[in-house]
Amino acid sequence: MTAIVDYGVGNLFSLRCSLEAIGESVEVSSDPEVIRKADRVILPGVGAFADAAARLRDSGLDQTVREAAREGTPLMGICLGMQMLFEKSLEYGEHEGLGLLEGTVRPIRDILQEQGLDPEGRLKIPQMGWNALRFRKDSPLFRYIREGDFVYFVHSYAAAGCEESLLADTEYGAWLTACVGKGNVTGCQFHPEKSGSVGLRILKAFCEMERSAT
């Protein structure tokens, strides 16, 4: 069973449906006990980082997610859920994340500027639409997809300084972090539940990940 962590942000209907479509049993839950006994855990999220991080902390589920990560349970963060796996975010201030992966979430605009790209600010932010994946490391998540496959993004911020966990990136003005993973902790900046059959195949690969030895 895969548990989707329900901490009051975002619409979890499509995510649940996408897992059910690949034959996975799903529980959308805010109960730490349900999440503890899950074979896999998905941390979703949309909206503002500070608000979502506060909700996760206030619900106490941040500890449950950390515990799952520590015990080797396959964990996937999606979109803002992926961003929360990192040490911190610079979205409107500086906010602490779960710190499960090394790196900082930064505005796409800053990442571009730093590299001297798009100086006139012509690129539309957020990146909204379908973009191709470039693999940076081999991962069990990519078992059923190919480099160059398209996935669906909606984001104004991206993880940076995460070379250690970077699995795939995508080109939008600059190369932006698309997929990360280190051991049992994984994340997708894009929405696999909205990425057609490619997305379903990434979720299928995730659902085949086994609990790692701790």
Partner: protein, 256 residues
Amino acid sequence: MITKRIIPCLDVKNGRVVKGVNFQGLGDVDSPVSLAKHYSDCGADELVFYDITASAEGRALFTDILTETARQVFIPLTVGGGINTVEDFERVLKCGADKVSVNSGAIRDPSLIGRAARKYGDQCVVLSVDVKRVDGVFRVFAKGGRENTGLEALEWIRRGVGDGAGEVVVNSIDTDGVKQGFDLEMLEAVCGVVKVPVIASGGAGKIEDFITLFHTIPGVDAGLAASIFHFGEVRIPDLKKEMQARGIPARITEAD
């Protein structure tokens, strides 16, 4: 590189897909759920469901169809029609919509855009505008294109985006249903005033119209059409292949 999106639009009334020419003479086409699944399978990048029902029963039926579609189709879904309040946003988002488009509802109450954007995020709010030239000026029309609001279209769009609309659908009443190509002049004007994605609607009759659209106006992010897809006059896999061959970034799926 981000791809240009191809978006079929399904006008739904009483549980069936319909599409009119110049907004009149509606004719039944197919079941929304099976049509949506078909489009997803053949490479549509996104779907728009437009609820043109007026009755409460029709609205409930629409919500059921939306739910069933979201269970089977895993590409972004935008819902429009009958969105007048933040509660209407909630109603369709719960059923699996990813974005919600506002049109007449925002004309009646312009604060709707800002309130919805603050609650659900800019990326969730799509401003859909029916535009027609009146004495050489782009004007916003309401009620499915029947009523001139007197609003100047570029100013209305700029204001909506300023309030938090994360995307704009520009439907040209002048070219809608005529099948002689998109309204390039109108689209270029809109792209000049906003920095959010712009979706072109109204006038596509053949593959070449999409090629011309994306070649002529690089600021346009997506092309939307209905009947030419429903009646098979343009097949999405053929369109995507032609886009790719002509240097327009397109998402080519494996099934192609």
